[in-house]
């Protein structure tokens, strides 16, 4: 049963997954290119690290895009028949939703693995000083967790509110979040800032995004 759910999930999102996998594979390489100093100092860890601070946010953006589309595509397939098929299956609705959720979460592994491979490749090309360590696995895990969270959130919005409301709510959330970030950077004391802080401070839901996504660390 779950295998079939997984199969359909994969069928509906395979193009997206492929594109995302290419993206996440390329990102670590980009970090090495964008790092500057490449020609001067060879492939120095500092170059990768600097580059990563530029491309790191791309990973977060990718996580959100992937998370949202990974819900929207299967939801679209199901809502084509106004969920008649899903509702006529002989399993409780909660079980169906949980299986759909689980299937989506599993497909997240595809871009995660690509990121891991890409990171690993870049790390293998770096001349690492003995005092520093590379964390390709940990970075991939962070990406997975971040994407999972973005996925879970758009999943909630979509399944609770339907398609149009989900888009509206997501935009609203991002707006509030972005505004809060902007205000907090501008040192304004406002309620929005506090809300934003609640979201990104542990154990707030977005704390995984607030921690540092680094390929190289002490």
């Amino acid at each position: 049963m779950f295998r079939q759910i997984l199969f359909t999930q994969f069928r509906w999102t395979r193009t997206l997954l492929l594109l995302m996998a290419v993206f996440t594979f390329v990102v670590p390489t980009l970090s090495w290119n964008l790092g500057g100093n490449v020609f001067a100092a060879g492939l120095a860890p500092i170059a990768v690290m600097n580059g990563f601070s530029t491309v790191g946010p791309m990973l977060v953006l990718g996580a959100w895009t992937l998370g949202f589309l990974l819900v929207a595509l299967p939801w679209g397939a199901d809502s084509q028949s106004r969920h008649v098929y899903a509702l006529s299956l002989p399993i409780p609705w909660s079980q169906y939703v949980a299986m759909r959720f689980g299937a989506g979460a599993i497909t997240l592994l595809v871009p995660t693995l690509a990121l891991w491979l890409g990171s690993w490749l870049v790390v293998a090309m770096i001349d690492m000083p003995p005092t520093l360590r590379a964390y390709p696995g940990l970075l991939a895990l962070r990406f997975f967790l971040g994407t999972l969270l973005a996925y879970a959130l758009s999943f909630l919005l979509q399944y609770l509110a339907g398609r149009r409301a989900a888009v509206v709510l997501l935009v609203l959330l991002v707006a509030v979040f972005g505004l809060g970030m902007g205000l907090s950077l501008a040192n304004q004391h406002e309620l929005l800032v506090r809300i934003t802080l609640w979201f990104i401070d542990w154990p707030g839901p977005f704390s995984v995004f607030a921690s540092e996504w680094r390929l190289i660390d002490v």
Partner: protein, 302 residues
């Protein structure tokens, strides 16, 4: 358990214009139940409520002994459902659709599915999105029949299909019913479709079940009478008068329900004479029944 479906006091409302009120329905096990009603009378909604896909505001529904919607998934495991519009995933092929469906229904019979697929002439690798309307209908029927379900719920299964495909689909259905001794609940606004197969008839109009009776009774009980010197009053008739028209000056045409030959005497008592008693076919009966119910409703509300 002698009733496959038992609905009591069902109530449901959508907006201001449409509501189902106080609906009671009984579908005996083993029956082929024709669920008639014009478009928009609430047939599909009733079916969705019956399968737990929507939540009634009041009343009780029991399907195959399971209370719906609480145990709807248990009932659904034993129900083959064909909705009025294609509900399958467009991006899958016929074969993938069968495999997907099979994974959920414990009693699914893969060999039967393969047999029906060949019989219906469906290609394994055809995309569902590319199927013609008739092929899509056949595929849905194939899935429902291969489930080996105890109850088939078919919502307008042949609506919009060409006669050849309709024949194929209905034949397969009839053969299945004889083999599996299943109960069939089949909704349609195409009356003569139901006429051949059904042994029970429920008629729905404006969110209400206006009649529910065995087919035989339905057909023999509704007659058109030509009445000479018809009485003005229509009170205290031993039958239900559905409509009354005056095509010529001396003759009136009455459509009555629950007619028995002995009732001629009533006319004699009031000084009238029944010149002719005509049988009506199902479609005419159905039309007269709707007309009668609508007249009754408007007089009620007046």
């Amino acid at each position: 358990m002698s009733d496959a479906i038992k609905i009591r006091n069902l109530a449901w409302r959508a907006g201001r214009d449409f509501a189902i009120r106080d609906l009671a329905m009984t579908v005996p096990t083993g029956a082929i139940y024709g669920f008639l009603g014009p478009n928009g009378s609430g047939k599909t909604t009733t079916i969705r409520l019956m399968l737990g896909m929507q939540q009634a505001s009041d009343g009780s529904i029991e399907v195959l002994g399971h209370s719906v919607p609480r145990q709807a998934h248990k009932a659904l495991a034993r129900i083959g459902y064909v909705p009025e519009r294609l509900h399958l995933y467009q991006g899958l092929t016929v074969e993938e659709s069968v495999r997907y469906h099979r994974a959920f229904f414990p009693t699914f019979d893969a060999t039967e599915a393969e047999r029906l697929r060949k019989r219906f002439g469906l290609r394994e690798d055809a995309l569902v999105a590319k199927l013609s309307k008739g092929e899509a209908g056949k595929l849905m029927m194939l899935l429902a029949l291969s489930q080996r379900a105890e109850l088939l719920v078919l919502d307008e299964p042949t609506d919009g299909l060409d006669p050849v495909i309709r024949r194929e689909v209905l034949s397969a259905l009839v053969e299945y019913v004889d083999g599996a001794k299943a109960t069939v609940f089949i909704s349609s606004h195409l009356v003569h479709e139901q006429e051949r197969i059904c042994d029970w008839i429920g008629v729905m109009d404006g969110g209400r079940l206006i009649a529910e009776l065995p087919m035989q009774e339905f057909r023999s009980g509704i007659k058109r009478l030509r009445v000479h010197k018809a009485p003005v009053s229509r009170d205290a008739t031993p039958f239900a008068l559905l409509s009354r028209e005056t095509p010529t000056q001396h003759l009136e045409e009455w459509v009555v329900r629950g007619w028995q030959p002995e009732m001629q005497e009533w006319f004699a008592r009031v000084g009238a004479e029944v010149r002719d008693v005509q049988d009506l076919d199902l479609e005419e009966s159905f039309v007269e029944l709707l007309r009668g119910s609508r007249v009754a409703t408007t007089t009620e509300t007046r």
